[in-house]
C-alpha cells in the first residue's frame, strides 16, 4: 500500500503548507526530540507570555510527511492555550485533528507530543517553574556520526 494515498487530505495539507514553520528569535522554551538515526527530529519553539499562555509556536522538522504534518498541527493546537492546556495536547489529539494517520506513522504523533513537552520543560527550567505532570524529556538524539570527518562527502 502506498503511503501517500494513506495520508488524509488534512495530513497532505499540513505537509504541503505547514503552519508555523520556522524559528523564534528568543523563545520562552525550545525542545528537540527524536533521533536522526530513526529519521525523525522535531524541534519546537514556544513563546509563552506572563499569563502562561502560548502566544506563538514554531517548528522545524527533519522527517517524513507525517512528521511534518504532526509538527505543524501540534503548533496549531498549542497556540493560544495555557501551559496546562498545552500539556493535554496528546498524540491522540494531534492524530484526530489530522483525520488519522497510517498505522506505521503513529510514532510521528508521539514525537509531536514529546516535542511540546520538551519545549515546555525548557520553559519551566528557564523560569524555575514546576509544571504539574510534566516529565523531563528523553533526549535520544544521536551523536552526530563521524562520517564526514572520516572523508564522507
Amino acid at each position: 500500500m502506498s503511503q501517500v494515498t494513506e495520508y488524509s487530505e488534512k495530513v497532505m495539507d499540513h505537509f504541503s503548507n505547514p503552519r508555523n514553520m520556522g524559528e523564534l528569535e528568543n523563545p520562552s522554551g525550545v525542545g528537540t526530540v527524536g533521533n536522526a538515526k530513526c529519521g525523525d527530529i522535531m524541534r519546537m519553539y514556544l513563546d509563552i507570555d506572563d499569563q502562561q499562555v502560548v502566544r506563538e509556536a514554531k517548528f522545524k522538522t527533519f522527517g517524513c510527511g507525517a512528521a511534518v504534518a504532526t509538527s505543524s498541527m501540534a503548533t496549531e493546537l498549542v497556540k493560544g492555550k495555557s501551559v496546562n492546556e498545552a500539556l493535554d495536547v496528546t498524540n491522540k489529539a494531534v492524530m484526530e485533528a489530522l483525520d488519522g494517520l497510517p498505522p506505521v506513522k503513529v510514532h510521528c504523533s508521539l514525537l509531536a507530543e514529546q516535542a511540546i513537552h520538551a519545549a515546555l520543560w525548557d520553559y519551566a527550567e528557564k523560569n524555575d517553574l514546576k509544571i504539574e505532570g510534566l516529565k523531563p524529556p528523553v533526549n535520544d538524539i544521536d551523536e552526530t556520526e563521524e562520517f564526514y570527518e572520516m572523508g564522507g562527502e
Binding site: 528537540t32 525523525d40 527533519f62 498505522p103 562520517f147
Partner: protein, 393 residues
C-alpha cells in the same frame, strides 16, 4: 497536475504495446493449457517453446535451462533454498553480500534458522564486492555463492564474470540475482560461469508476475513449487502462457535495442548526475560512478528525509523512490546505503531516479529545477540544517 515524469523504472516498468499485443490472444482466444493433448493446445505450447528459445538466446543459455516462475522473488527463493536442500549433505555454508535484494537476504535468514551458515560480504563505498574477500570466505562446506548482477538501489554492477570464475575454480554453485540487469546489461551465462540466474519480466517492460530461473544443466537443485509436470517437472503450476509470451517479446525488444537504449539512458543519467552534483550543495552520489546501470542515479541529500522529498517531487509530477525507512514503516534506512558506509542520518535522505527511454532530456532539466527548490525548502524546515548552518557559521 499536468506534468508527469516516471523515474521509477527500477521498481517496475510500463508494458510496451507490442508486448501487450503479443500477450492478448493468449488470454481469450488461445487460452489453452499448453500441457493438454489436443491440437489447439499445441499452438500455445509451441509459442511457449519459442518464447523459451528467445529468452535462452538472450543470455546464451540452452532452452532446457530456462524455467519460468512467478517472478524474481520466487526465482531467488528457489535458487537459494533449492541448492541448500539439494546440497545439504555436502555443506551448510552460503556466501552472499550485504546489499542483496530482500528476496535473497530474507531467504538466507530463513535458512540460518534451519542450520545454515551465511556469510554476508561487505562492499566498498561504491557498493562493489571485494573478490579476494569473497574467495577467502569460501570454506569446504560452502555450497552456494549468491551475488547480485546489479544492485537495485544504487545501480552498481558487480564483477560477475570474475566471481563466476572463482566459484567455478572452487566447485561452488554460483547464483546471481539479475533482476535489474536482465535485458539491460549483456549477460552470457557461459562466459560468466553462472550456474543459476534470476530475472523478472516487469523490469524490462514485460508483465508483472512472471520471471525465470536459469539452471545450468547438471546443477543440483531441489524444486520449490512441487506438483504437476510443467517446466520439465521442475516448477509446477499451469503455464502462464500470456505472461511468458509477453516476457519473451519484452526480452526480444530489450536485447535488440540494448546498446542504443543504454547509450541514450546513460547520457541522460550523466546529465542528471552532473547537474545535481553541481547545482545542489551537500549531496552525495551513491553507487559506482562508471560501473552502474545506465538508468540509475541515486543521491543522498543531507539534512533531508527521503519520504518528504519523495512526496514533494510527487506533487510536482515526478515519480521516484527512496531508500528511506519511512516508506517501509521500519526505523532503519536502506540496508544497501548502510552497507556502503553511510550513517543512518544521511541514508534517510536518499532518493533514486531510475529513468527509461521514455525519459526526455527536458524531463531531466525539469527534475533538477524542481529538485533544487524542494531541497532548499526542506532544508529550511530541517533542524539538522539549522544546527549545521549555526555550527559552520
Amino acid at each position: 497536475m499536468s506534468k508527469k515524469i516516471y523515474a521509477d523504472n527500477a521498481a517496475t516498468t510500463r508494458v510496451y504495446p507490442e508486448v501487450l499485443d503479443a500477450m492478448k490472444t493468449y488470454f481469450d482466444e488461445e487460452y489453452w493449457n499448453p500441457s493438454s493433448t489436443y491440437e489447439s493446445a499445441g499452438k500455445a505450447a509451441k509459442k511457449v517453446a519459442e518464447a523459451r528459445n528467445v529468452i535462452a538466446n538472450a543470455i546464451n543459455a540452452r532452452d532446457k535451462e530456462i524455467f519460468f516462475t512467478g517472478g524474481g522473488s520466487e526465482s531467488d527463493n528457489w535458487a537459494i533454498k533449492g541448492v541448500a536442500d539439494a546440497l545439504r549433505e555436502k555443506g551448510n555454508h552460503i556466501i552472499t553480500t550485504k546489499i542483496e535484494h530482500h528476496a535473497v537476504l530474507h531467504t538466507c535468514e530463513f535458512l540460518e534458522k534451519h542450520g545454515f551458515e551465511v556469510t554476508y560480504l561487505p562492499v566498498d563505498e561504491d557498493g562493489l564486492v571485494d573478490l579476494e574477500e569473497l574467495e577467502s570466505a569460501i570454506r569446504p562446506t560452502t555450497i552456494l555463492i549468491s551475488v547480485m548482477f546489479a544492485n537495485n538501489e544504487i545501480g552498481t554492477i558487480e564483477p560477475i564474470a570474475e566471481i563466476g570464475k572463482i566459484a567455478k575454480e572452487h566447485g561452488v554453485t554460483f547464483h546471481t540475482d539479475a533482476v535489474q540487469a536482465f535485458g539491460h546489461e549483456p549477460i552470457d551465462v557461459e562466459a560468466m560461469n553462472i550456474d543459476l540466474l534470476s530475472a523478472s519480466a516487469h523490469k524490462l517492460n514485460g508483465p508483472k508476475g512472471v520471471g525465470l530461473l536459469y539452471i545450468r544443466r547438471g546443477t543440483k537443485i531441489s524444486n520449490l513449487i512441487h506438483g504437476g509436470g510443467q517446466e520439465n517437472g521442475r516448477r509446477a503450476g499451469t503455464t502462464n502462457t500470456a505472461g511468458i509470451i509477453g516476457f519473451a517479446k519484452a526480452t526480444e525488444i530489450a536485447v535488440e535495442n540494448m546498446e542504443k537504449n543504454n547509450q541514450y539512458e546513460a547520457r541522460l543519467r550523466d546529465k542528471l548526475i552532473e547537474r545535481i552534483l553541481e547545482e545542489v550543495p551537500y549531496v552525495r552520489l551513491n553507487g559506482h560512478r562508471e560501473r552502474r546501470l545506465a538508468n540509475n542515479a541515486n543521491f543522498c541529500f543531507r539534512f533531508i528525509e527521503g519520504e518528504s522529498l519523495l512526496i514533494m517531487l510527487d506533487l510536482k509530477g515526478i515519480c521516484a523512490s527512496s531508500g528511506s525507512a519511512c516508506t517501509s514503516g521500519s526505523l532503519d534506512p536502506s540496508h544497501v546505503l548502510l552497507a556502503i558506509g553511510l550513517p543512518h542520518e544521511i541514508a534517510h535522505g536518499s532518493i533514486r531516479f531510475s529513468i527509461s527511454t521514455d525519459t526526455k532530456e527536458e524531463d531531466i532539466d525539469y527534475i533538477v529545477d524542481e529538485l533544487k527548490g524542494i531541497v532548499e525548502r526542506l532544508r529550511s524546515m530541517s533542524p539538522l540544517y539549522e544546527d549545521f548552518v549555526k555550527e559552520v557559521g
